[in-house]
Amino acid sequence: MNKSENRLGVELCGLCLENPIIPASGTFGYGCEFAELYDINILGSFSFKGTTLEPRFGNPTPRIAECPSGMLNSIGLQNPGVHAVIETELPRLQKVFNKKVIANVGGFSVEEYAETAALLDECGQVGLIEVNISCPNVHNGGMSFGTDPKAAAQVTSAVKRVTKKPVFMKLSPNVSDIVSIAKACEDAGADGISLINTLLGMRIDLRSKKPILANKMGGFSGPAVFPVAVRMVYQVYEAVKLPIIGMGGVSCAEDVIEMMLAGASAVQIGAANLVDPLICKTIIEKLPQTMDKYGIKNLKDIIGGAHNG
């Protein structure tokens, strides 16, 4: 099948994806757990576990709490550090995944983001860099960069300076004006925008009468946040010219189409992977018949379709 015949094909800054389906960072590890279950080469790409310069254990447990139609997590960027990712995880991934992966980068200072991104820039397997300026679970970093347009711009330009790969800034929904953050990233040279990260939330255990999460607050994800995500993707699409990777509660082929109509060029699947490990495969298989149902010939033609007229 040549590319022009692939109804599901999309493109992100020159990176051609066979389909728009991308497991979201933090829900897919470095790919190997899912490769046991299905051929992950059917994916458009996937965004690997948020990686920082140094190894991190993350927050104390419990760091998962259930919610109606979703979940809270307060993992806190547990990862083996960028050096171990490059030396161990990427070679292991190469055996089961022959496409370009999205490198998700976390950090606690502008310099750290840049240093980690520079190391990943050297990796041929990495197709684009997704910069997480929106983690709600780490102090002195993460979300604090994504809630201030100036700080978001600083991280963007620092990362842009050290890599030739496309740079997508992953934004937090925990802001009063998502558009100003997206615009600041665009002005600072970002190649694209990923949104949304999780919404800050809390659950309290009635027996102990204390927050369930050891870190008290955590990031809320799952189907409940989907309308918030669609709204923010729609707003950002109106305001910036950059391609958008849309995410937040996407759970089925219909959600993918809705997210693309709002303005997403590709779509990440997060929490749903944790509940149904085959969900990305199922969505990819169901997309053609769902497109037929809604009279859609090619997925790339519907990006931002909800804005026309």
Partner: protein
């Protein structure tokens, strides 16, 4: 190895106070005692991780305690219903380490995995002793089934209404069975008491609130002597020598 499939509920009934037994038929991927299932329940976003009590070619058995809305709902499921379950999760106990006289130590809702473990050890020709702790006589279960396997069963209840009075470790001290290795499943305070009591190496099974149950989300990580480990994927069973007790709360 992780496997997702649909199972038919063949039996689901109460066997002790707040303790239910469910038999599920279908194709599973359990290979080792101490592994667990992750059960999807209608109306709940996350699955319920429950250790496997027994498994065979036709299916497997879960024994679970009703501790919240999810397990309450599970206890009301009727025979004939179908459930979406991930099976074959976790590493399970390693029976090769047992020596000739393994000792199983379990308390409360930690008792179920001991059945499959005892069965495997008995099949390997080992002389198995099980020390089980419960709160009251009404909470006692699986004792007859373990005895029927040829396991020597020692019991303790907190109120003394069945077996020795006190904790399972009190029964162990009072009866002082000979053993070559131990396998434990129960709550953390019990593990701390076991640690003070036992004289050999052993394996402990841990639990934690989980997101996925198969190693993807890092929700249930634990610090060990060999680094950060995921309870769901690298565990739930860890060697006693690997545990950083000062990190456990």
């Amino acid at each position: 190895m992780l496997k997702q499939s649909i199972f038919k509920v063949k039996e689901n009934g109460r066997i002790a106070d707040s303790i239910f037994k469910m038999r599920l038929e279908g194709e599973h991927s359990f290979g080792f005692p101490g592994q667990f299932a992750n059960v999807k329940l209608e109306g709940f976003y996350l699955r319920r991780p429950i250790s496997v009590c027994d498994f065979d070619n036709g299916g497997f058995t879960l024994i679970y305690k009703t501790v919240g809305h999810g397990t309450d709902k599970m206890s009301a499921i009727r025979e004939g219903a179908e459930l979406d379950i991930l099976t074959g999760l976790g590493n399970g106990y390693n029976t090769e380490k047992s020596g000739d006289k393994p000792l199983l130590i379990a308390g409360g809702s930690g008792v179920p995995p001991m059945y499959a473990l005892a069965k495997a050890l008995v099949n390997e020709g080992k002389a198995v002793t099980a020390a089980l702790g419960f709160n009251r006589r009404e909470d006692v279960y699986l004792v007859d089934e373990l005895s029927a396997l040829g396991v020597r069963v020692l019991c303790a209840t907190a109120d003394g209404s069945f077996g020795e009075k006190g904790f399972v470790t009190d029964a162990l001290r009072a009866i002082a069975p000979e053993y070559s290795f131990f396998y434990a499943c129960g709550p953390l305070p019990m593990y701390k008491a076991i640690r003070e009591t036992v004289k050999t190496e052993g394996q402990y099974s841990f639990e934690e609130r989980m997101g996925c149950g198969f190693g993807a989300c890092m929700g249930c990580s634990m610090k060990t002597r060999t680094g950060a480990r995921r309870i769901c994927k690298d565990g739930p069973v860890f060697d006693s020598s690997d545990i950083l007790w000062e990190e456990l709360r």
